[in-house]
């Protein structure tokens, strides 16, 4: 049955209110089971041996001593994970990233793994594995890696996107270019031109729950995997491919997930755990330590960016040009391309060009991190906009409003915008009391904008109605932050029943069709759409059953407020039939009542935000403190406003951490020097004020309720908002994030 995804304005009963989440009690009492909380009979403990070198040939791995240790049940190396990727370069990179194949490519790269009866034995076994390395030259900085004299990490990488194909391999995996208009003509029209270069350091998603899984593979090729993941269906497909298993024979169950932010969209330890289990024929539990998470999971890119903007005296931006250099770790990535797509997305710039370089370095393979690649581009562009505004003699907000992208404008990556919320967000910022609040000594205020695409994708959802009229909603998108509540509300809204009558479950891969990851802010958009459609299917069945019970044509049955109504003059005397009444008779009217939907959710609405930040800079120490922060963002329609606000606040806080403190620090030796929360400092409670939020609701025309994704955009503006605030507090423009105390102090000293 075809369903329309078009937005229809309606009065909501349930959606837009604030219910208690269904998994709340489990999570406040310690009952909720996360990745590391599962057990299985006879389970072994898995541990991974990792390279201490950033780049080294692996000459020999001698496991004989370790194998002989009492209690060791299996040891695996790359020999136990033969390449079955059939020329799929992306999959081959995942395989090589999971376990080094002849060469260690970064500090922390997995080299071997053991499964043993307990933790102590597993650790001892690792110490007995002798690996003979031949150290190779390494490079960890993005600009240095682009230098023609740099060590070339992969001899088979020739820059994509360059014609003719380069004759020599290099660390530049790809060059991307996009834009429109004529930038030379645009700059020649400009009365003012500003140019600035920026750097941002590598940060980690910093989810509090380390990667963890429990794998069990049988000799007949069947298996199960319990894992903390943002997408168990995708994990199943990838793991089955890497292990040579049949997709349907590997059942993957997503545990409760202790944060992901993009970092749990990639497999690392899971294929190793499966390989260990297959070899030992015992379940294997593998939990990463925090140090392993930092050294060997997927942080985001460090970058180096040049921006050039030109404008007329009236503030009209005539041309924008940006070059973005993003490192993707030890394998080719597409991160600079995302930077190109997002850099100018908030503005309608007639003449614009973005060029991106994806660069390979000896660091862990980069993974998505909340609106991946956009925060760095926004840091560069939104900082430069302030410099331009100063030159023109306009306020930063008026310059932005003058050039803001509206419906009908062309996005940097091609499409024409539909209804979007950046102008409304900027106006809300301009009118916000925060903008009028007095600043104290050493304080400054900054604003910045942000954009993220949001995505849809493959989704599959079931609704099953119990004999008492309660409803099971079966979802396949992992609940990372309260989506079971939102989805239950949507089902209740459609069916016309109380929220409490719906119970949402996340199905394992054996119980529901494929669902894409919870990524790209797609969960509420996509699963929400599939829930609406599945509920409408179920209502169709309920109406048929009511018609049968009454003995009237189904065309004469309507569904209102959770009950079937007989419509038409001839049926006036029939009392309504409630969902419960129809369900209780379902065994005699055709069997179980269900609704189902599978869909490629299309038409995700773009997310736009504008942030206001006040900082106070301690000129003695260079420390910047956030004294007030406001997030304004378009949600399309906020299903559960508490959790929308939570996304705004959490994303802003991650951006603040990136702006002020968080960075990967590599030594000259190419080793990560701060793989722990003590030295990689994420914001703590005492670092922050309350984060004020304002939800705008500009409906997405391509969702029945108008929903847009809300998860990611909020991390995009903070780097620039903080940098702009520091500039206003001190008169010094910071161009290198994080703007940590030593960097700010150095900049203050240089300026005085």
């Amino acid at each position: 049955m075809g369903h329309s995804n078009k937005y229809v304005e309606k009065e909501f009963e349930v959606v837009g209110t604030r219910f208690k989440r269904p998994d709340g009690i489990d999570k406040v009492t310690g009952k909720a089971r996360y990745g590391a909380d599962a057990t299985a009979p006879g389970a072994l403990v898995g541990r991974v041996l990792r390279s201490p070198h950033p780049h080294a040939e692996i000459l020999k791995i001698d496991v004989k001593k370790a194998e002989k240790l009492d209690g060791v049940k299996a040891i695996v190396t790359c020999d136990d994970l033969p390449d079955q990727t059939n020329g799929d370069a992306g999959l081959a990179a995942i395989l090589e990233n999971c376990m080094a194949r002849g060469r260690a490519l970064y500090d922390g790269h997995a080299v071997a793994a053991v499964a043993a009866v307990d933790e102590q034995t597993a650790r001892k076994a690792l110490s007995l594995i002798a690996v003979k390395y031949k150290k190779l030259p390494h490079v960890t900085d993005v600009d240095e890696a682009m230098d023609p004299k740099a060590v070339v990490i992969h001899k088979n990488v020739f820059t994509r996107g360059v014609e003719p194909k380069p004759s020599k391999p290099s660390n530049i995996a790809a060059r991307t270019q996009m834009g429109h208009g004529d930038i030379e003509a645009g700059f020649s029209e400009a009365d003012f031109i500003v140019e600035k270069s920026y750097k941002t350091e590598q940060t980690h998603q910093g989810y509090i729950e380390p990667h963890a899984c429990l794998a069990s593979v049988n000799p007949d090729g069947t298996g199960e995997l319990w894992v903390t993941t943002q997408g168990h269906f995708v994990f199943r497909n990838v793991c089955a491919s890497l292990l040579g298993m049949d997709v349907a024979k590997l059942k993957v169950t997503s545990s409760e997930i202790g944060g992901g932010f993009g970092g749990k969209t990639h497999v690392w330890a899971e294929p190793i755990a499966l390989a260990l289990s297959r070899k030992a024929n015992r379940p294997v539990k593998l939990v990463m330590s925090r140090e392993e998470v930092f050294r060997a999971s997927g942080p985001t890119s460090s970058t180096s960016i040049d921006v050039k903007l030109g404008a007329k005296k009236n503030g009209e931006i005539t041309a924008g040009q940006v070059e973005l250099r993003y490192q993707g770790g030890a394998f080719p990535g597409t991160w600079a391309m995302l930077g190109c797509m997002t850099a100018f997305a908030c503005y309608d710039i007639k003449n614009q060009q973005s060029v991106g370089y994806d660069v390979i370095v000896n660091r862990p393979k980069v993974a998505a991190y909340r609106a991946p690649s956009a925060p760095m581009a926004a840091f560069a562009v939104e900082s430069t906009l302030e410099l331009l505004a100063d030159k023109i003699g306009m306020s930063g907000i008026d310059l932005r409003l003058k050039n803001v992208a509206r419906e009908g404008a062309k996005a940097p990556y091609g499409p024409i915008y539909g209804p979007i919320g950046i102008e409304a967000a900027l106006k809300a910022v301009k009118d916000h009391p925060h903008m009028k609040a007095k600043l104290k000594k050493n304080q400054g205020r900054g604003i910045a904008c942000g954009f993220w695409f949001n995505i849809g994708g493959q989704t599959c959802t079931d609704i099953n109605i119990g004999v008492d009229g309660t409803v099971n909603l079966t979802l396949g998108t992992v609940d990372v932050g309260g989506s079971r509540a939102s989805m239950s509300m949507i089902a209740a809204e459609e069916l016309g029943i109380p929220y409490e009558q719906v119970k949402a479950n996340i199905a394992d891969t054996g119980s529901l069709g494929h669902n894409d990851m919870t990524e790209g802010s797609r969960g509420t958009f996509s699963s929400g759409m599939a829930t609406i459609f599945a509920a409408r299917e179920a209502i169709g069945v309920l109406k048929q059953r009511a018609a049968a019970m009454w003995g009237i044509p189904v065309e004469d049955v309507a569904w209102e407020k959770g009950q079937a109504i007989a419509v038409g003059k001839t049926h006036n005397n029939l009392p309504p039939l409630s969902l419960q009444e129809i369900a209780s008779k379902s065994g005699r009217t055709g069997g179980p009542i269900a609704g189902h939907n599978e869909v490629v959710a299309d038409g995700a609405g773009m997310g736009f935000a504008a942030h206001i930040c006040d900082v106070e800079v301690d000129k003695e120490t260079g420390r910047s403190s956030i004294v007030r922060y406001t997030v304004v963002q378009d949600a399309g329609k906020a299903i559960h406003p508490d959790y929308v606000e939570g996304q705004f606040q959490g994303g802003a806080t991650q951006g603040i951490g990136w702006a002020l403190n968080e960075e990967y620090i590599y030594g000259e030796d190419g080793r990560l020097q701060n793989p722990g929360f003590l030295d990689y400092r994420i914001p703590v409670c005492s670092d922050l004020p309350f984060i004020d939020t304002k939800i705008l609701e500009i409906p997405n025309p391509n969702h029945p309720y108008g929903v847009r994704g809300v998860g990611e955009t909020s991390i995009v503006p903070p780097l620039a908002a903080v940098g702009n605030a520091i500039a206003n507090a001190t008169g010094v423009r910071m161009t290198h994030a994080p703007m940590s105390p030593p960097r700010v102090l150095k900049a203050l000293d240089a300026a005085s």
Partner: protein, 160 residues
């Protein structure tokens, strides 16, 4: 296998005995031997607070305590906060205020907040923020957590 030591404690009021190697942390014993997986491991180095428990009433990171140090002591975990079927006011308010998203840090926050409110029934916002500075949350930006603790403190004061 390393040689084990017998540890006798009370956990959430119940007598508990287990044997473990001398170098095993209280966090691992509580999770793997006592079965209290509400005690979470976020870092194993005392930086994140997800494994917060009380030891004779004092707030500690159980990853920094050896199990043998808990011998003869009272251990309190998140599993001991509710009284029968009645949630602790902090637990109620964390749910009401949407103070959790992924929830992995929640047990540690609840134990730390309970330890604060037992010492200080009416903490200021700043006191709450400093008392919880040893607990990392990556989802919420702490806004709703602080509000939940304020609301719970108010409820507890009213009930007295």
């Amino acid at each position: 296998m390393s040689k084990s030591t017998l540890v006798s404690t009370r956990v959430n009021g119940d007598a508990v005995e287990f044997a473990c190697p001398a170098d095993e942390t209280l966090m691992n014993s509580l999770r793997d031997r006592v079965g209290l997986t509400g005690v979470k491991e976020g870092c194993g180095t005392g930086d994140c607070g997800a494994c917060s428990v009380t030891l004779d009433g004092r707030l500690v990171c159980s990853c920094l305590v050896l199990s043998v140090e808990a011998d003869g002591k009272e251990v309190g975990t998140v599993e001991g906060l509710a009284e029968g079927d009645k949630l602790h006011p902090l637990q109620e308010k964390f749910i009401d205020h949407a103070a959790l998203q992924c929830g992995i840090c929640t047990p540690g926050f609840l134990v730390a907040a309970d330890a604060l409110l037992k010492k200080n029934a009416n903490p200021s916002e700043e006191e709450i923020r400093y008392a919880l500075a040893g607990n990392l949350c990556r989802c919420t930006g702490y806004d709703k957590i602080v509000r939940a603790v304020q609301a719970a403190a108010k409820d507890i004061r009213k009930a007295k």
